[in-house]
C-alpha cells in the first residue's frame, strides 16, 4: 500500500456512512475511525405540527377526538379554558367540548392524566380520531 492508496481509502471512508474501517494485507494494516459530528446548540429547532398518523405512532399518549365537529377549549368565549398545559385531570373530567350538529358534546379524559400539550386550537375543526391533547398517564 502506498500513500496514494491510503489517500483514496481516507476519501472513500469520509464520503461513506461508515464510522470505522480497518484493512490488513500481510504486514501492513490500516485503521480509520470517524469522529461523530455534533450540531451546534445554537440552531433553532423547527416546529412541525404533527400529522394524526405520526403522532399516534409516537410512544406518547393522547386524548383523541370521539367525533367530527368544531373543538372548543372553553364552555363559552368569555370562560376560562377547561384545562391548561400542566393540569392534572381525573378520569371523566371534561377537557373540552366539540360542537356537532348544533349540539355541544363534552370530551372527557378516560383516565387520570397530566396535560402535556394542547394539539388543537379553540374553534378548530376536528375529525374522528384526531389527537386533541398529549397526556402523561397517572395513577
Amino acid at each position: 500500500m502506498d500513500l496514494k492508496d491510503i489517500k483514496e481509502i481516507i476519501q472513500l471512508v469520509e464520503k461513506s456512512d461508515f464510522s470505522s474501517f480497518s484493512y490488513k494485507d500481510g504486514q501492513q494494516e490500516i485503521k480509520l475511525k470517524k469522529e461523530r459530528q455534533t450540531f451546534s446548540k445554537s440552531e433553532t429547532p423547527v416546529q412541525v405540527s404533527p400529522k394524526a398518523e405520526e403522532s399516534a405512532s409516537d410512544s406518547g399518549f393522547y386524548i383523541f377526538s370521539p367525533m367530527v365537529g368544531t373543538f372548543y377549549s372553553a364552555s363559552s368565549p368569555d370562560s376560562s379554558p377547561f384545562v391548561k398545559v400542566g393540569d392534572e385531570v381525573k378520569a371523566g373530567q371534561c377537557v373540552g367540548v366539540i360542537e356537532a350538529m348544533k349540539m355541544m358534546n363534552e370530551v372527557d379524559a378516560e383516565e387520570n392524566a397530566k396535560i402535556v400539550s394542547a394539539l388543537v386550537k379553540d374553534g378548530q375543526n376536528v375529525e374522528y380520531g384526531q389527537p386533541l391533547f398529549q397526556i402523561e398517564k397517572q395513577q
Binding site: 398518523e53 367530527v68 365537529g69 368544531t70 356537532a100 375543526n125 375529525e127 374522528y128
Partner: protein, 449 residues
Amino acid sequence: MYKKILIANRGEIAVRIIRACRNLGIQSVAVYSTADRDALHVQLADECVCIGEGPAKDSYLNMDRIISAASIVGADAIHPGYGFLSENSDFARKCEEYGIDFIGPSAEIMERMGNKFQARQTMIHAGVPVVPGSKQPVYHAADGKAIAKQIGFPVMIKASSGGGGRGIRISESAEDFENQFNTAQRESVTAFADDTMYIEKYIEKSRHVEVQVAADKAGNVVSLGERDCSIQRNHQKLIEESPSPAVNAKMRQEMNAVAVRAAKAVHYYSVGTVEFIVTEDNHFYFMEMNTRVQVEHAVTEMVTGVDLIETQITIAMGLPLSIRQEDIILRGNSLECRINAENPEKKFAPCPGRISHVHFPGGNGVRVDSAIYDGYTVPSAYDSLIAKVIVHGKDRETAIRRMCTALDELVITGISTNINFQYSILHNPVFCKGKADTGFIEAFLEHKV
C-alpha cells in the same frame, strides 16, 4: 352551482363521483372510516375527513357524523352513492334540516317508492302493469294464504319495506305457505322493523329488466333504455347488459313509456331505475323503483353516451335536463362484469386481504371502475365488490368477445376473486344466445346448463 360536494360513500362509487365532481369543477370531500385510511377515494378527493371506526354504523351509516363533516368543511351538497344512506329518507330529511342539498329525490318521494306495497298501488293507479298480487297489505299468514289461493301458486311473499333480497320467500303450495310467510315476516321485522307483507304471483323463467330514468326538478323526464340484470346469485347481480336480448323494439318503446309514466306518477326527480319482470311470452310487469344511482349505471353510460353522475349532480343544482328524449339512442351493446373479492370454490366466501398486484385491461371499448391498487388491503367490514369491468361493442357478440379479452388480461393477485367464474359464464352457450333468465346462475352452478 355547487362549490363543494361531500361523498357519503366509499370504494369504486366514491371514486366515480369524485371524478364527476372534477369534471364539473366542483371540490370533492371524502369521508372515511379508520378501516379506509389507505383507500383510493381518500387520496383522490380534495379534502378528507375521518368520521369513525370501521363498522358501517360508526361511519358510512352514521348520519350525524356525516352531516357534521359536511358542516365543518362547508359542503353545499352530499352525494350518497348507492347502498348505505342513499335510500334513507331520514338522512335526506336531516340534510334538508341542516341546509345541505341531498343529491337524490326528496324524502317524500323516497318513502313513496321505498314502501314496496304503496309503490305497487301508486303504479296501479297510474295504469302501470304490475305483477298480479294482493290488493291489501298482509299481516297474518291465514289472510295471506287465502289471497295466495286466489292468485294461484307459486307465489312470492315479500316484505313491504324490503330490499337487498331480504324478507322474500317463495311458496310453492298451500302446504308450505304458513311457514314461508312467518319466516319472511320475521326476517322483515328484524331487518326493517316492519311486519307489513304483500303477496305476488311468482313468475318462473322471468328476466329482470330495469329502465334507467332521469328527471329534473321542472318535471321533465327521460328514459335512457333498459338493462338486463338476470344473471344474479342470491339476488345479487353479477353481469348486466344493455340493451336486453329479451326486449324487442316494440317492447322497448312500451317499457320506456311506462317507466316515464311511473316516474311522473310520483313527481320524480334525479336519476332512478324502474325495475320490471319480463316473462317468456314478452309481458312486462312493474316490480319496484330504485331511487338512487345504481352499480350498473356504467352500462347505460356506454350505450347512450350520457354521464349519469354528472347529470344527477346538475339536476340537484336545479338545472334543467340538457338531454331530450329524441336525442337518446342506444348504440351497440354494453356488458358489465362485477369483480368480487370472493372464492367461488368455497361457496363464494368473501375473501378480504392484501392485493399484491393489479393489472387492469384497457383499449377500445373497455372501461374499469375500481378503487383497488397494488398493495391495497381489501377490508373485511364492507361488501366484496372491488372492480367493475365494462365493455362496449357494436353488437352483443363483439361486446362479449371484448369482455373475454378484458377478463383474460385482468390480473388481481393476493386474494381470491370471481374473475374465472365470470369468464366461464361468458363462455356458456345459454348466456351467449341471450337466453339466460333469473334461474340461470342456479342452474349453471348445478351444471344443468
